[in-house]
Symmetry: C2
Subunit: 379 residues, 2 copies
DNA sequence: TTGTACGCGTTATCAG
DNA sequence: CTGATAACGCGTACAA
């Protein structure tokens, strides 16, 4: 059936065009304002203002009347005027590197929906990791009187600038303070970097972070429990999360008495990761259990295995971390540790809005193992 | 003498700022306003206002002095005040279904970056396809005095509401008017639906759309040129784009004298698509060339082929449409027709901002063939 | 229970 | 070339 359902435009009444009973013709050339509502009822704007926000000092009767008229004439309060008057915004500034990334998109969704529930409107800005754009974002936010800021994996100095401007800020998967805290939380490796919390001058910053160490452990443990004895880790770039996930890998193996095991280093480019895995496979003997830095790396491993004639999961088990959309569509489906992406966003909103202690606080969220087809017990 | 006085004055520090804090421009309580800048220079706020926007009626000397002080005291104009006064916003409302989707993320990126270049700030709202949220989005936009609206694949009646409110709107990959236009553009199939343009009452709507028919043709032509003679099309859900892509498939084959060829229908769920392909392969003989509705469908085909023991591209060539991120990571890499996602967004911004004819206009963007490893000449 | 009056920070108009 | 001044739409002391 080609023609499908065609929805006809439902008859709708355009406000202002139709004559309203007893009310002066409004919005001839402008918008409907409080004055119009007030005039229509023969009351003052003050009364309308109070009634609209449910002030108990206003009689229930007028409150209802006001509400009804406001509704009928499609009154929309001017955000600008209110903002100018009250000096408070219901806007939350959000800086991300790019929204094009599927991962950030999920986080952004979490932010949006939680913010909406709390009556706030997020103002997104994709800074593409460029310092100048980050500054520009801050300018925009400041002009808009935004006082709450959420930064997703910020790169530059936005944070410092933001707190200098007196903003309340929440950081998602942010900086070294978090890393330090995470490492401290694990609290085991004697060779772990000294956990000096960077709380020196970050008075109103809250951190929401994914437990990278835990994810590394979880991925590795899964493999260990499957019965594997021969491992490999495909490292990511020299960033926080990569380091921490490696740490988790090592810890799990150490606790199982299986350490040391190989760690494959590779440049960030996809081709390099694949090459690194290919090279490793050339001298390895199946079965091998591999923990990749992230899902993309895991996919590279999958490809390398395929080219090298290794079967997954028969010869090679692979675990990723993140659970990006792609993970569900690889062949075979990728076992991975999922990040609670939407929750990260939602919690950041809560953190940045929550008035209370302005002491830096770190919230760490656990990953969840998602078992698909890329892992199995060794033959 | 006047300028001398100004220079002297400009050497002074802004009173309000000095009083509260030291040399640092930290604004603890109360922001820096035009009045502060004016006071610091001993001029009126009107002058500052004019100077700041480069009014040639203001002497160059003053303009420079104002700019310098404004810069030094970190003056940021109040968007709210300006908006209240001028009644014009530099905001563009953007409704999408979800940002979590990688595809939309790219489009959004295009919007953001083009808007930024033009001095506009996009206000995103993810309506998740829910009618109530779409209305809410409109409420927010209206409260913010947003007059420009970009809707990405809108579902509900946002469009009608928006134009009823007098907004200028641009639609990306939108509705049936576009579909009709696209079909008209192709202008060949006698059995194509009658191209009645829905321009009945959409006075200020511009459309930006991907050429779905062309994409279908392009994908199919690629396979034809490779020398294939046995084809199959994996259909998508009953939506505009699916119909159009199918149309393109058919046209290309018809022109090559190869029509008819099989069309595989499947429910939207991934598992069903895979099943549909599996069933088809059971009775087909290699080599077969397949055009999938989109990249996700193509991946399903890849999986089905793998399970059925068909080799890609030796036994089965597969082409997708969209070029989502995933396409580059499948095994083998997916040949596909790429949508110019960022350009779609950028053009929508141009369309919605461009004052000129308010006649509905449709811009159609071509896809581009991206050849990877999933297609090859028949053995 | 409701009205009056003022000001938030800007820009536009009218003088000078 | 620049300065007063009014007004944008709203919230809120202060009155009534």
């Amino acid at each position: 059936m080609v023609s499908g359902a065609r929805v006809l435009a439902s008859a709708r009444v355009v406000p202002g065009v139709t004559a309203t009973s007893g009310a002066r013709g409004a919005l001839v050339s402008g918008r409907v304002t409080m004055k119009d509502v007030a005039a229509a009822l023969g009351v003052s704007t003050a009364t309308v203002s109070r009634a609209l926000k449910g002030d108990p000092a206003i009689s229930i009767a007028t409150r209802r009347a006001v509400a009804e008229v406001a509704q009928r004439v499609q009154y929309r309060p001017s955000a600008a005027a209110r903002r100018l008057r009250t000096k408070s915004t219901s806007l939350i500034g959000v800086v991300v590197q790019s929204v094009g990334d599927g991962y950030i998109g999920e986080v952004v969704l979490g932010i949006q929906s939680r913010a909406r529930d709390l009556g706030y409107q997020p103002l997104f800005f994709a800074a593409e990791g460029r310092a100048d754009l980050e500054s520009q974002a801050l300018d925009v936010f400041l002009s808009e009187q935004v006082t709450e800021l959420i930064a997703v994996s910020p790169t530059g100095h936005v944070l410092a600038q933001a707190v200098a401007e007196g903003m309340r800020v929440a950081v998602i998967n942010g900086d070294e303070a978090v890393a330090a805290s995470l490492i401290a939380r694990v609290a085991s490796g004697a060779d772990a970097p000294s956990p000096r919390l960077g709380s020196r001058r970050a008075p109103m910053i809250k951190h929401i972070a994914f437990d990278d160490v835990g994810a590394g452990r979880l991925a590795t443990s899964h493999l260990i429990e499957l019965g594997h004895r021969s491992f490999a880790h495909l490292r990511g770039p020299q960033v926080r999360s990569s380091l921490l996930r490696l740490l988790g890998y090592r810890q799990a193996l150490t606790e199982a008495g299986l350490w040391p095991q190989p760690v494959l280093a590779a440049a960030p480019l996809m081709a390099n990761r694949e090459a690194a895995v290919a090279e490793f496979l050339r001298e390895a003997t199946p079965p091998v259990a591999m923990v990749a830095y992230d899902d993309l790396s895991a996919v590279a491993a999958l490809h390398a295995a395929h080219r090298a004639g290794w079967r997954v999961p028969a010869d090679l088990s692979v675990v990723g971390i993140d659970d990006i959309q792609l993970a569900a569509y690889t062949n075979p489906g990728l076992t991975t540790v999922a990040q609670p992406k939407q929750r990260l966003g939602a919690l950041a909103v809560d953190a940045v809005l929550d008035r209370g202690d302005d002491v830096p606080k770190v919230t760490v969220l656990d990953g969840e193992l998602v078992v698909r087809e890329s892992t199995a017990a060794p033959s």
